[in-house]
């Protein structure tokens, strides 16, 4: 069952994605001030939540890797940072598209936009270090990942602490029932896709690690 988890997540996500898109377009009323462009919200917000979740997972796994020298934790951190990179790019692209439609400008430079962009750049730096850095750079990479996780509460509270045009954190809770009924399937579909891809990537990284070890052992035996 555990081995089939990624496939099950991805298979379950497919009909749910179709259902959520048709629900958003056919059964969800337009928001009064933002109009039709508000439909971007239903996938933009889950992507925003996903980058924060992935950054926290990456930070915790990197902390475990740093403390226990666990290679498996390193694999989890790398997979989480890759998915954080993808979801972060998604939120940083859909946000300005939505902003252009509603505010008339794609980028206002407000605290939430800047802090999210900063988190994404930290994830990019982490990925570059893990892929191209020397073996000794793993500790620096882990420290970066932990720094990224610390940035998550800053993103969350950015709209409370600083004056900003960005919608508040309570927007999901204040949605009318018919909009909320469309939001949860969208969130669940994206979470299932992300979880499926995350599990596939972790499995690949474990396998690559074991293959590396097997190659080294075979070379040692040959010598």
């Amino acid at each position: 069952m555990r081995r089939l988890l990624p496939e099950l997540c991805l298979i379950a996500a497919m009909p749910l994605l179709v259902y959520s898109v048709q629900r958003v377009f056919l059964h969800t009323p337009n928001e009064r001030t933002m109009g039709t462009a508000f439909k971007i919200f239903f996938f933009h917000v889950p992507m925003g939540w996903l980058i924060m979740i992935m950054a926290v997972i990456c930070g915790i796994a990197a902390g475990v890797q740093l403390r226990r020298r666990s290679r498996r934790a390193g694999c989890v951190a790398l997979a989480a940072s890759e998915l954080g990179f993808v979801t972060g790019l998604g939120v940083l692209l859909t946000g300005p598209i939505w902003g252009h439609a509603t505010w008339g400008t794609p980028w206002t430079g407000d605290a939430r936009q800047v802090s999210t962009a900063l988190l994404w750049l930290i994830l990019v730096a982490y990925l570059l270090l893990r892929h191209y850095g020397p073996r000794t750079s793993e500790r620096l990479a882990s420290a970066l990942a932990i720094f990224g996780a610390v940035n998550v509460p800053i993103i969350y509270y950015a709209v409370k602490v600083w004056k900003t045009m960005h919608p508040s954190n309570e927007v999901v809770g204040k949605l009318p029932p018919e909009m909320r009924a469309s939001f949860w399937p969208c969130l669940l579909a994206l979470v299932l896709v992300a979880l499926g891809l995350f599990a596939v990537r972790i499995r690949q990284l474990y396998l690559a690690d074991e293959l590396d070890e097997a190659w080294v052992r075979s070379q040692d035996r040959a010598a």
């Binding site: 898109v21 039709t36 462009a37 598209i97 891809l197 596939v200 690949q204 293959l211």
Partner: protein
Amino acid sequence: MDETIKQPSKETTTPDGYAPVVGRSLADVEKLRELEGQAAAKTASDYEHIVWAYGVLWALFAAYGLFLWRRSARLRADMDDLRRTLDARRA
């Protein structure tokens, strides 16, 4: 603009069902069409943005899925190489 649009009274409707439009000034109709045009333009622009946003999202996930698929193929090839090397050594 007067928001109440007067409907034709029953007396003005001819037996064949023709009801002339009465009570709407040309200015009201023009204003109404202008507002309808603005709403249609805003909706069209919003849909353009939605198509871009959704397109970007699916393209990103598809690209990452493709990346994972290629990685899997490379790992499988690496595993076959290792198996072949070990078999050759055994032989």
